[in-house]
Amino acid sequence: MNSTNGDSLPFLVRDCSLVAISTGKRAQNLRELRDHVLNIHEGSIYYHFWGGLLQPHFDDPQFNNDFANWSHYRLHDNILAERLAVIDPTDFDDLESLRRELVEILEQRLEELERPAWVPTDCQFHFVRSQIVVFDTGWRIEKPEHLPDLVGKMSVGSIFYHVIDARRRYPKGADDFQVWLRGFGGFERICEKLASIDPYFVTLVELRRKLSTILRMGFREALK
């Protein structure tokens, strides 16, 4: 649990790194994919939706999650790929709801197909999970108006921790910045704008830029 919260406590900047771990589970066709998704470690669902932000990946992929990419590039099932690609993990309260949605789409597609396609052995879907290593950077601020500068200097690991990882720790849409600012009162408009950012379709560098812009403009208005 992040120790940053309201009541005028300082904002502690944390950083994180993801470590990828093989689960050993792999799928060679749609049915196997569905069967593994039903039972796979929750961290694997998380990794295949969010892990690309901190792990080796291409910044401008055709689809934003690994399940959709595999369906397109390996199964060559574009109908499935598009249905999977439209899933936005930020719409779900928790990973179990996200898993259920994923299973629903896979089962629907299985019902539509007479013979689900197989892929060659070197094109299987490998289920990977991740461990998150979180550490205190030693940076901290006391005053909300220092936040815009601070965010602009944060590493992408810090952005991931305070925005993406925060979504696993708070109710839907919240992040550490909003939670901290709400503790002071009077920054509701900035918090609303922060909540409106869609972190799923941007890189962490772009996300940092967006956060920084919203905070700078928000504080300029708030302090007028």
């Binding site: 070197d122 550490f135 590493s155």
Partner: protein
């Protein structure tokens, strides 16, 4: 100025800051890397840089190399082939030499290995060291750099017995991993942008190398750097070149590979390649010594595009090197090449000589698109496949391993 700061202009100050932060909980930790060679090969190249970087970060890192006789190396060279799916008979005599060599090295390194907080054992050569270090107190990791996706089962069954005792293993890709009763981390390999093979060169350096190998710098050049091995499909590259040359008569092909003296099959493939080339003056077949890093660098920088038309590939670091030099890469649709070539973005994935020829023609006709791909490829490598990312992942998994197998490891300063 420290070595790690040399990377800041390339990867950014924030990346270096991030690495320093992750390494904080590891200061004073005694870490030993063990492999079987100090010079030559990708593992030695990485350790040559990773170990000093770890030391700079306050980790008491050291690098030990095990020593063996001819039979030991004969055995481990065969392991390398059989673990990648090519059957080579390995006699009991060689297996005994393998185990005995490890027992002797464990004895010689006893105090270092027993006192270490963490031991990274690289590849199969020193794998049995753990068995002969019963009084170890640290965590032991087996770092497997090779593709274990389709090993020759009896030999893998034999080696797996030595691997099961480790606390964790590290594979380059999920496809390369084999089931083991411990955590299997995934850490892709990397290139060092400051090494001779990747450092920036002047146009004059590049020109000198081209002159040395009689390559015309005023005509388009495609280059494949790889061993003369059937899996790298050099014959397919020549066929693709001939198809493309019909439309671009000035095209030149350079096939640059290592010496074949210790690899009988390499010699056979090299002969086949020369026959296929049939003394074509526009095909240069270069057999370079293992330390010709600067020449390879200059050849890559002087080429218009890089080709790596493998039909089976591990990770394919020559692709990484090509992308880093801002060259579009045409690569075989296999292994780790798929992770690096994002089709139509950083290069093209191909399955046939015809496909490769089509992409060569396209890139020659679309210099704007080629330039766009080149820039995307370089950025892609900068973010994902440089040694700083490799170091960061090693440090992260070290912290994780020291703090249990929880999904979330929170470290307070």
């Amino acid at each position: 100025m420290k070595l790690i700061d040399d990377y800041a202009p390339i990867v950014g100050e924030d990346v270096i800051h991030h690495i320093r932060e992750i390494s904080a909980p590891l200061r004073g930790l005694k870490v030993v890397h063990v492999n079987s060679t100090k010079i030559g090969g990708g593992v030695a190249e990485i350790l040559d840089r990773i170990v000093p970087l770890m030391m700079e970060l306050g980790i008491e890192a050291r690098w030990e190399v095990i020593k063996g006789e001819e039979k030991f190396y004969e055995c481990t060279k065969s392991f390398h082939n059989v673990l990648q799916g090519k059957y080579v008979p390995i006699s009991d005599l060689l297996l005994r030499a393998y185990e005995l060599t490890n027992q002797e090295n464990a004895e010689a390194l006893r105090s270092v290995l027993e006192e270490a907080d963490m031991v990274f054992v690289h590849d199969p050569q020193p794998l049995p060291l753990l068995k002969w270090t019963p009084k170890r107190r640290g965590k032991w990791l087996w770092r497997c750099h090779i593709d274990l996706s389709h090993p020759y089962r009896p030999i893998w069954k034999y080696l797996r017995e030595f691997a099961t005792g480790y606390d964790a293993s590290i594979f380059s890709l999920a496809d390369f991993a084999q089931p083991l009763p411990h955590t299997q981390y995934l850490v892709p390999p990397s290139i060092d942008p400051l090494s001779d093979k990747n450092i920036e060169l002047t146009p004059r350096d590049i020109r000198e190398t081209q002159d040395q190998f009689d390559i015309d710098p005023d005509r388009p050049i495609i280059l494949q750097v790889s061993r003369f091995d059937r899996f790298k499909d050099p014959i397919g590259v020549i066929r693709a070149f001939r198809l493309a040359k019909r439309f671009s008569p000035g095209l030149q092909l350079v096939l640059a590979g290592g010496g074949a003296s210790d690899d009988p099959e390499g010699g056979i493939v090299l002969k086949e390649v020369r026959e296929e080339a049939n003394n074509d003056p526009d095909i240069r077949i270069l057999v370079l010594p293992p330390d010709a890093h600067r020449s390879i660098n200059a050849l890559q920088r002087g080429a218009n595009f890089i080709i790596q038309k493998s039909i089976k590939e591990g990770f394919g670091l020559t692709v990484t090197e090509g992308l880093w030099k801002a060259k579009p890469v045409i690569g075989g649709d296999t292994g780790g090449i798929r992770l690096q070539i994002i089709d139509h973005h950083t290069g093209f994935l191909v399955s046939t000589p015809e496909g490769a020829a089509l992409r060569i023609r396209y890139l020659l006709r679309q210099p704007g698109k080629a330039q766009e791909m080149a820039l995307k490829g370089k950025e892609f490598v900068r973010q994902n496949f440089l040694i700083t990312r490799h170091l960061r992942e090693y440090l992260s998994l070290m912290v994780a391993l020291l703090h249990g197998d929880e999904d979330r490891v929170e470290f307070q300063m």
